[in-house]
Subunit: 399 residues, 2 copies
């Protein structure tokens, strides 16, 4: 407990240090095979291209790239993001629909602060992205968890929850959804499902925050367009990230939304950090313009597909027979459901002792349920580490 | 008004678009002499050094500079900031007292969110930094304005306000202060004044947030050490920025504080944006290590001193005789008090018509008083623009 605790604001008191994070921090620098993070394989970073582009930017745009810039992002990057969005099927937008953020994390932070009041009814997939849940928790909403099926969130549950709310005279505020290569579940929602989400949003009048972090990382089969591409009312607020397709070290993400919503985000961002760094925005804009990102994607996809295959095969071989796991068509993670008696949180210290890290699944549930689940990452470890780590983990789970 | 207004959170409804910002936005790209911003002169950016460093970082640290990094900042930069702090007289700290932020703006955003609840008693200089006041306003505190004298805030008023609060059984929460080359007032608090601030903080038990944005930009006379350098209890939270000494386009700032406070900031930052961009942190660390920043400071100081002199001379020549203005020993601004009848907000559209922009002083007062004041910037415009712009402004003020 901090000696300054008496000065903390009430919201801050809600921020708890995560025991998992503290546990994992202990492993830093140690010889541990980590399935815990969500880090890209550093071999996918186009370092040489970035070096050339960075030289080019500093030779041609130094006085702008090193200076303050507009809160919503530099015009060059906003324009290139209009182009990149078109490659995800999002059309009919212009620069004013784009807002550049410090990672998509900042996008989610601002959106949830802009729109969620304590007590608001907020719908999330169960499980869902840990960091998004943490931001939401700090807003003290009424959570509604939509269980994940093999094909994305169970929309029958969503609809019956909405109907129930309505019958009680209450209004839903927003749905946070990762429809493509879901984190951590690995599922992808069908086109029909996406249309139904939009119909429900319109009928029950709520906003949809669509997190498309893995939209460019689908390595198997076709995936339907983002919900935003089907949105005619402007209810969908889309977030994208450069972290998985260029370099997370730039901390660059973006929002695609109705212009009125972009305006609200702009007011909020002026308070948070004035604007996203100019220099790296110039680099990212140039990386899109030169097709560096687009040309790099096939390499990233085939690398992650191979690693996923190695992981799935190792799991098949070593995990207990009563375990189930996702077969993700994209992204960076396999999600695992163990038998009901297993508790992945209390297993973690033993796994770390044996040199393997993962994230206990309960962190991905708004209500900390799912204690028999775990998320394992395949993008960062080497193929050899995946084989060895999964074998160790499998043995532990069978004991 | 936005068609999505019904979805906004209660705090967000407090964020108002600034009419001044909207007015100034209209001048973008037009041929207007702007005394409105707080932009460094781009000739001070060490672009060639940054290019060399950026190449060096990408050749030697690409896999770390492009990857996710620690929430508090990369170890290299935190270490270099310990060294840089020593040059401001702040000693006896180590890496764990340093936290890297997206500009010092994000530092202030996080600190005020961490520590200020609605209704809390918060002390600010009057006038004070516009963006800090805006963040605070969103927290709905009870403001106490400490009038600025020629030698910094009037500490007698601070003390009598504190005594009054105590007699009412109420507690102060924090003081936000810019003791060196104050923005916008241009004043510097004496050593004795700094010690008295610390004594009052200890006696009445409140936190001090010390904004040292211009600490490295004092170009005349000696300035006393930051309050943080005198702090023995850990009550002072210091914020610094690379925006004025390297390049604002990097959006890099930092906090120096007690470790327990750093820990709270870390928890908060995990929600906001996970961490500050890695790449530019490596560049900044290397820029300190190579003395690029330290070697550049004399050039920046002498340039701004010359520009300040040009501005003060032009003001002397052209402004009405009943006007008063600051003679700043550092920083980027001259603050002007006109006769009581003048209203700088309603004058602004006419000034813009004649091709000159400034910021009406009321923006710098928590209670929007000071309507006869204005802030004029001398770091960005050329000397010729300063002469011409001040002449135009002087004529308008005399009409």
């Amino acid at each position: 407990m901090s000696k300054w605790e008496r000065f903390l604001s009430k919201e801050t008191a809600l921020l708890k240090t995560s025991e998992i994070r503290d546990l994992l921090k202990l492993t830093e620098g140690k010889n541990v095979i980590s399935f815990a993070g969500g880090l890209p394989d550093p071999s996918t970073f186009p370092a040489e291209d970035i070096k050339n582009i960075s030289d080019y930017v500093l030779s041609n745009y130094a006085s702008r790239a090193l200076q303050y810039s507009a809160t919503a992002g530099i015009p060059e990057l906003r324009q290139q993001l209009v182009n990149l969005s078109a490659q995800r099927g999002i059309t009919g937008i212009d620069e004013d629909n784009i807002f550049v953020t410090v990672g998509s994390q900042e996008a989610l932070f601002m959106l949830f602060n802009l729109f969620v009041d304590p007590g608001d009814h907020v719908f999330v997939e169960s499980p869902s992205y840990l960091a998004a849940l943490n931001i939401l928790r700090a807003r003290s909403p009424n959570f509604h968890g939509i269980p994940l099926t093999e094909n994305g969130p169970d929309l029958d549950v969503l609809e019956s929850d909405l109907r129930k709310l309505k019958s009680e005279g209450k209004k839903p505020k927003l749905l946070y959804i990762i429809p493509t290569a879901q984190n951590p579940g690995g599922t992808t929602l069908s086109l029909a499902g996406r249309k139904r989400v939009l119909e429900l949003a319109s009928e029950y009048d709520f906003l949809v925050v669509e997190d498309d972090a893995y939209g460019f990382l689908v390595f198997e089969g076709d995936s339907p367009p983002p919900i935003k591409a089907l949105d005619k009312e402007g209810r969908v607020i889309y977030t994208g990230t450069f972290s998985k397709i260029l370099a997370p070290g730039f901390r660059l993400g973006w929002i695609v939304a109705d212009k009125d919503i972009i305006h609200e985000v702009e007011l909020y961002k002026q308070n948070v950090d004035l604007h996203t760094p100019s220099f790296t925005q110039f680099i990212a804009a140039e990386a899109i313009r030169r097709n560096v990102i687009q040309n790099n994607l096939p390499k990233i996809r085939s690398l992650y597909k191979r690693k996923r295959d190695v992981m799935l095969q190792a799991i098949e071989e070593h995990f207990p027979k009563d375990a189930k796991w996702s077969k993700p068509v994209g992204g960076m993670f396999v999600f695992t459901w163990l038998s009901k008696q297993k508790d992945t949180l209390s297993l973690l210290p033993r796994a770390l002792e044996r040199g393997v890290a993962y994230v206990p699944g309960s962190s991905f549930y708004y209500d900390y349920s799912g204690r028999n689940t775990m998320r394992i990452n395949f993008s960062f470890p080497t193929e050899e580490q995946i084989r060895k780590g999964i074998e160790i983990l499998g043995q532990l789970l069978k004991e």
